[in-house]
């Protein structure tokens, strides 16, 4: 009887090990803790990756440029990023491509102190944009095409787009953007 139990245990162990080995691994880099990267969390939490035979390791790597560097080095299989870092790296010769688009709208808001009620009141004031290390690196890039596209300035572009749609292009010239 003991031998039978041992045999059954051994069979179950072999089956379990085989199942674990059958799971293929994917390492995905998340450029930010955002709504979009929450999808990976949901897929993990609901066992969707396991359903399709995958073990997904999500690695938070802040900053798109760093994320792309890790991807290019081969230490990540996939990345979930905004447009600019991947496009810039591709233009610089990296063999990476976007194969799925998730968001097709700008999702920025222009926030001000409570005493500022309109965009017109921004004249002469400083705007803080999100830190974009990649922009400075790109300024020194030799690739003229990359320079022309100026990727990495999504929040600035959003701001300009909003301002121009409000007919405030002139105001834009009077507003300075700064990082601190």
């Amino acid at each position: 009887m003991k031998k039978l139990h041992a045999l059954i245990l051994a069979i179950f162990s072999i089956v379990a090990v085989t199942c674990v080995e059958a799971q293929e691994k994917i390492r995905i880099g998340l450029g930010s803790i955002s709504l979009q990267s929450g999808l990976v969390h949901i897929a993990k939490d609901r066992g969707l990756f396991a359903k399709y035979g995958l073990t997904v390791e999500s690695i938070y790597i802040p900053g798109g440029s760093t994320n792309v560097q890790v991807l290019v080095s081969g230490n990540l299989d996939l990345s979930q990023l905004s447009d600019a870092p991947g496009v810039a790296a591709n233009l610089e010769g990296a063999d990476i491509v976007y194969f799925a688009g998730l968001l097709d709208k700008l999702n920025y808001q222009l926030i001000a102190r409570s005493d500022i009620k309109s965009i017109e009141q921004l004249k002469g004031r400083k705007i803080r944009r999100q830190p974009l290390r990649f922009v400075r690196r790109l300024r020194h890039a030799r690739n003229a095409q990359a320079r022309r596209h100026r990727p990495g300035q999504r929040s600035d572009d959003s701001f300009k787009s909003v301002m121009s749609r409000r007919g405030l292009q002139r105001s834009l010239q009077e507003v300075s953007t700064a990082r601190w």
Partner: protein, 102 residues
Amino acid sequence: VVNAPFSSEAERLKLSVLADSVKMNIPFFNTGLLGSRRFLDKQDARVMNFLRAYLESIKILKTEREYSIKALGQFTSRAELESAARRLRLLQISSSRCRIRQ
């Protein structure tokens, strides 16, 4: 200039929202999945399985509101469910289509 989820925090702090690009419906390639051509070519079955799971995750996000709010709140380590609900609404508006390049 901030993006979600920080914009909802700004609203909670009674800061002024001067412009909201989501409401302005500005088309833009915002966020995507990328990988090396070599990996995509060699591991296309694995990538397709990843996308299948990912698409099902989007379906859950769009159809299971309560669960999605809790999951997003848990993921972003923010306890305010109201804030998570607003972020969910934003994502549901923004991710109206998920385009996959074959």
